[in-house]
Symmetry: C2
Amino acid sequence: MIHAAPLTGEYFIAGERRGSGEVFHAYDPACGASIDDIGFFCSSEQDVADACAAAEAAAIPYADLPRETRAAFLDAIAANIEALGDALIERASRESGLPVARITGERGRTRGQLRLFASEVRDGQWLRLRIDHADPARTPPKPELRLRMVPLGPVAVFGASNFPLAFSTAGGDTASALAAGCPVVVKGHPAHPGTSELIAGAIVRAATDTGVPAGVFSLLSGTGNALGAALVADPRIQAVGFTGSRGGGEALMKIAAARTQPIPVYAEMSAINPVILLPEALAARGKALAAGYIGSLTLGSGQFCTNPGLVLAIESAALDAFLAEAGQLVEAQAPQTMLTAGIHAAYEKGSAALAATPEVRTIARGVHPTGPHEGRTALFSVTGADWLANAELQHEVFGAASIVVRCADRAELLAVLSALEGQLTATLHMDEADIDDARALLPVLERRVGRILANGWPTGVEVTHAVNHGGPYPATSDGRTSSVGTLAIDRFLRPVAYQDLPAALLPPELREGGQPGVLSRIDGKWTI
Amino acid sequence: MIHAAPLTGEYFIAGERRGSGEVFHAYDPACGASIDDIGFFCSSEQDVADACAAAEAAAIPYADLPRETRAAFLDAIAANIEALGDALIERASRESGLPVARITGERGRTRGQLRLFASEVRDGQWLRLRIDHADPARTPPKPELRLRMVPLGPVAVFGASNFPLAFSTAGGDTASALAAGCPVVVKGHPAHPGTSELIAGAIVRAATDTGVPAGVFSLLSGTGNALGAALVADPRIQAVGFTGSRGGGEALMKIAAARTQPIPVYAEMSAINPVILLPEALAARGKALAAGYIGSLTLGSGQFCTNPGLVLAIESAALDAFLAEAGQLVEAQAPQTMLTAGIHAAYEKGSAALAATPEVRTIARGVHPTGPHEGRTALFSVTGADWLANAELQHEVFGAASIVVRCADRAELLAVLSALEGQLTATLHMDEADIDDARALLPVLERRVGRILANGWPTGVEVTHAVNHGGPYPATSDGRTSSVGTLAIDRFLRPVAYQDLPAALLPPELREGGQPGVLSRIDGKWTI
């Protein structure tokens, strides 16, 4: 059992702790005050260059390790995170304002993700092995071709404030990039520097213990945008993983596109996740839907990418009753501490702007906050015609704010859906008699969203094979990919074909008979 | 048998011929004169909007057609192209300056590609079907998730001058986008407008005959860049396929990145395709290597993306002999007509600039041209140190110009390879005794290129499953993908997950037991 080492405020370059000079402090949003136990050192541009140079130097050795070593590395990270014990939970909870129970659950998810990717590395299907045998008798002679996926190279990962464990230092982006064979340079989120340091220590120990080159992982630390900008601009970085605001994601996309060699950016940015209450379901169980809705909306103070920020229904007495019920539930909602002072301020500004919009009706607000950075739940309604006339109304307000759009009829509901930007999810609440309505909406939803749910709530994303946590722009910067589940590994791979290469030079998986247990396509036929 | 209809100079919007006002003329590069038999109408920005609106309207109906219909459509295009007979061959040869034999071969490849993608549509593996069953007993309950790939939506395809059939109106980009279920709007290359019109007629007839919505295909026609720029900027276009110059590809990337909704651009742009002559192979068979080299270099007047523009070898008497032999072969090379006046002028400028570079030695030039746009083969050499000191020397000169880099030793050869930008291919010429040298170079090549060949020549790309015609920037704009072979279909797809959706609403392939013969991943296990 490895216990958490005391925090030093240092960051990590290729396994070595480093830090001197300028520091910043962690912040406890529940108290509204800095955590003064330690200062966290700010990484410099030289640190960025050093981390990238180490990552580049490690890229080929790491990619060439046996798959089993890479899998063992991921498993060891998971075990080391577990071994950090309560010190990790307490620190992450204090830095994020998220309850201990939520952080404990998130730690389980983080370990589960790492182990899922370890299992995926062993499975090897992501190699996409393909072999086409030669045909020397053909005119012209057909060459032998063998193909596999190889890692892109060093990946920059940005920690996310709303998932200090599951989408930060050893979160989904890091796990999937390491699984793909890419070294990772993390830019830790300044909202949880102590959490990042603890997790980085767990990764560094896992690398040492499993014989993985130290350059495979670095953690940079600091406030402001210059550090991340320098990281994305570094010519050795080959891809970027980011979860955060649309503004942040778009800034990284601009930097990546302006490089001499542009690189892919996987930014999970902005969604309002429409929930459609179809007429029969609304009439049959409006009260239960209201309870489910407000429960999903207020989970974690609404700070989820999949938070239901938009509800659509057709005008009816049942909709009035639903709104009244939802309003009562909102009024009873206790305020919850938000992640950072900045997120809280943006939420206040966004919800106040909605409340001040003439055509928007405030249905209810939650209990008035007393703590320094508590978010007050906000429920609004607007007619379909007014929503369609004001594009501002589909901008995400990150937090527990949501708008119910009262559509005049089915045509207006369809018009609202058709006017939506790309989304992570859409949800249909439906009964048996709603099925034709649902069927008519599905093709429109498939064009616009990454995950379609029936009779559930979008918060809560299952980490598995058949999940997609992605969606057309601006839900993500690259709707061809998922940042959750085993599909995420594909983001960091590209194909290489080998033509007529002597067997002695082929990677082992591409030699004749070298594919035991790995899905492969041989002369066009799939075999396992 | 459908014969080629007489040319009218019209373009096609959603199956309808259209054209009035301004015209341009095709050009016969062998004669150096316009082909005055007909004027080709220039599409307007309104035509762009109309084509995109029709494509958007067709997107959902086309995606929802049975896979068999989509496959039959691709097969019918192939058959209709065949039925165009000699009229197509003659027109394409006249407009491109490429010999009849080459165009005939290219027609075979074009038909083969269409049929390969038809077969791929039937195979269905690109759907990437995944099912994770529910587990209501788990805490929290595990939802059911089902995932498939869906088409991105309308795709803009730019015809390529160097492949008037295989990478133009019904070429690889069009075939793979249509296979993925995406409507296509082609911007025809102005170097072969008659060829484009003939092929477009074949596509339109195939759509009619197989019951595919007319909006699935449009052909826009015109000169200058404004038409293509408007097409890429149109908000309904969801991806771009392009084969051409680096400048052209980068211009499209900029337009795509500046959209409100940025979209993927698949531009196949620029490569010099290093060929490495390892010492033993060079000593053993330098004469044969010289013949293979000059044959590959001058094929099609050097106008291939995979043309060997860079040869690397270590200083030796064998290298001197190789250069002497290659030089003699070059001097005997008859000039060949290049594709367009612009390409010929750029080739003249590029090869003259190389010849005028002090550290570059001109080994040989081909026979002096007599025709108006004939390219004169050019062979240069430079030392490794001089090559490393001048980044200009790795810029592609499109045509039959190539540089042999004389490296002082293995370290300098590795340094040259390490300084290379991304490439489509790299080739190793090696004997048994070269195997350790080759092994040392492979990891460096894997980081930089898309296809690695041994003892062959990079021109000639097999259209199959295990091929990759792609590579890191600037070989292509997106090194994660291939523009040739069955992998190409993935460029136009994105995942959608369905959570707890009633079976009646699921796409047929995702229903329980609905995957006969289609590769699928069920609860993590692959099955066929």
